[in-house]
């Protein structure tokens, strides 16, 4: 079985600093592997442990520095890594990203069986790229997956966690799935993995290599564009501190709407 894991490099959103003009200070911002993509990668590695003949390719679209992140995945037991990097891919929205990644997979990995994405990326947090890739490739998708239960006879059985309950779903491969989370410890690179990774090469493709036109990718290929970005207004409340549980009980009662005096 051939698995493609889509991984995005994202800024660490818990460590954002602001410039004087209220824009995000990009210099010195740490880049990390999107946490949900760590789960996606883990799910693939777990399948590889449980079944024979599994080949994993990690794929990322982003600047050249995302190659370092992909090298780390090779150290974890991933077989190949592909970086889609081109100036013309820059500033893509989820439509253009889905189209670029989908087209790259169609061109370069046409015999894939399973694509695993994260459910969200923490920077944009749209949860749209996975379904958009699936639509571009015209394959089924299953989102909100908590666990891959089994993989047999060209079918995957998975558990979905939804707001109203849990679903057990069967999907025919090839398919795309989006991982919400799973209960496992992040894998640690084994020593020989690290050595192998240092000597390995990341395959990099640009726009021409995957046969897209400039107007189909990046900002030009994106139906949406940002017209304005701003920092949210801080809420204009002055917190009134009380000094005892008794006073707090009174405030709770007022806020409940029971008593208004």
């Amino acid at each position: 079985m051939k698995i493609v894991v889509c991984i995005k490099q994202v800024p660490d959103t818990s460590d954002i600093k602001w410039t004087e003009n209220n824009t995000i200070q990009r210099e010195g911002l740490e880049s990390v592997m999107n946490p949900y993509d760590v789960y996606a990668l883990e799910a693939a590695l777990k399948l590889k442990k449980s079944y024979d003949n599994i080949e994993i390719t990690t794929l990322s679209m982003g600047p050249l520095q995302a190659g370092d992140m992909l090298k780390k995945t090779l150290a974890l037991g991933v077989d190949n890594a592909i970086l889609l990097s081109d100036r013309k891919f820059a500033a893509a929205d989820t439509y253009a990203t889905g189209k670029t990644i989908g087209t790259a997979i169609k061109q370069k990995l046409p015999d894939f069986d399973l694509i695993i994405c994260g459910q969200f990326a923490i920077d944009g947090d749209t949860a749209q790229t996975g379904p958009s890739i699936a639509n571009t490739l015209n394959i089924p998708q299953v989102t909100y997956i908590q666990e891959i239960i089994s993989s047999e006879n060209g079918e995957l059985k998975v558990r979905r966690e939804l707001d109203d309950g849990t679903e057990i779903v069967k999907v025919k491969l090839p398919a795309l799935i989006c991982m919400l989370q799973d209960y496992f410890e992040p894998a640690r690179a084994r020593i020989n993995g690290i050595i192998k990774a240092q000597n390995s090469e990341i395959t990099t493709y640009g726009l021409d290599d995957i046969g897209l036109l400039p107007e189909e990718a990046g900002l030009r290929g994106s139906p949406t564009y940002v017209s304005k970005a701003f920092r949210p207004e801080p809420k204009n409340t002055e917190c009134v501190f009380v000094n005892s549980a008794e006073e707090l009980a009174e405030k709770i009662q007022i806020c409940k709407g029971g008593k208004n005096d």
Binding site: P131, N135, A249
Partner: protein, 340 residues
């Protein structure tokens, strides 16, 4: 030609129209006024015979038309069938704007529709407006709520999803009988590749509690352990509140994921939100800062949660909650009395 704003009317597993539809329908009336008096219409995908029953339910939404695709294969949600039905109808109707709730279903469906229609989709909007050029200006938080972005779309329909509870449904009865317009979509050629084998429903007491609760008592890492959450629950029961949690509390196994409030959890807007032992990280507050009143209990008086709270008590929750439990809220209009 009259412009149309189309709103997806999600049917829940229990055959209700999801509340987010009514919230979007109400917001869309406002957009319609700025969009040459556009018509606000619904898109319903359901099994045979249900549309007529739903007509009553739609009365309050102020919509003009319900476009319906009815087929018994549409009994339970399936990405494949629902995408096909929605895409075909959208191609025919050619709405200016297409809105969906950012529910599990909406988030699964919307990006398939937008990709198939080669148009843009803005996820989880917290603000929708029509700009001076007549475009949908969709505002959403990014970077975990630390940056807001207003996004425009070059193609039609301009699509957006909005989480439940971000907008309010119409207050008074906006009664308008809607016309039902049946649309046939050929589903035969779709080979269904996804099959639902089992569904385990959450207990009804658990679901939607947070969504509909007037008061929420939420616990964070500061509640420390299971005993802490027991205390929290006891307090919540006493004042008739639902229990919510921060992600830290969920990760510690003190609460389940569906109790989580915030960026990767629920957005809630109760009358009163009482945060106990929660620091107030932006990823948490983005899901609760639109509550009418916020009360925070935290031993660190500098905790950011106090920046958005109306009332605060700087102290140890393990001392304050037992103390609060001594006050008994009687009926709605009674004041708090300390128990003997």
């Amino acid at each position: 030609m009259t412009k149309e704003i189309l709103i997806y009317a999600e049917v829940t597993r229990d055959n209700y129209i999801h509340t987010v539809f009514f919230e979007l329908a109400n917001k869309a009336q406002e957009l319609a006024e700025k969009l040459d008096e556009a018509e606000v219409n619904a898109l319903l995908i359901s099994p045979k015979g249900l549309a007529a029953d739903y007509r009553e339910a739609f009365k309050n939404s102020g919509i003009s038309k319900i476009y319906v695709c009815e087929d018994d294969r549409l009994k339970t949600y399936s990405t494949e069938y629902f995408t096909k039905a929605a895409v075909e109808i959208a191609k025919e109707v050619q709405p200016e704007i297409l809105l969906l709730g950012a529910t599990n279903q909406g988030r699964d469906l919307a990006p398939r529709i937008s990709t198939a229609l080669h148009t843009g989709l803005t996820a989880d909007c917290t603000g929708l407006d029509i700009n001076e050029k007549g475009q949908l200006a969709a505002t959403r938080p990014t970077f975990g709520g630390q940056l807001m972005a207003t996004i425009l779309c070059k193609n039609l329909p301009q699509m957006a999803t909005v989480r439940p509870k971000v907008f309010k449904p119409a207050e008074k009865d906006n009664i308008k009988p809607a016309d039902i317009i049946y649309k046939t979509v050929n589903l035969d050629e779709i080979e269904k590749k996804v099959e639902l084998l089992e569904f385990h429903k959450k207990l009804t007491t658990e679901i939607n509690e947070l969504d509909s609760a007037e008061i929420i008592v939420a616990g964070g890492r500061g509640m420390k352990n299971a005993d802490g959450f027991k205390l929290l629950k006891e307090f919540a029961d006493k004042i008739g509140a639902a229990v919510g949690a921060s992600r830290a509390a969920v990760e510690m196994g003190l609460a389940s994921h569906d109790m989580q409030v915030g960026q990767t959890g629920k957005t809630v807007t109760p009358k009163l939100y009482i945060a106990c032992g929660i620091s107030g990280a932006i990823q948490h507050t983005i899901g609760m800062d639109k509550s009418e009143k916020i009360i925070a209990i935290n031993k660190d008086e500098k905790a950011p949660i106090f920046e958005i709270a109306d009332f605060g008590l700087a102290g140890d929750v393990f001392e304050i909650l037992p103390e609060l439990l001594k006050y008994k809220a009687l009926t709605e209009d009674a004041s708090w009395k300390k128990l003997p």
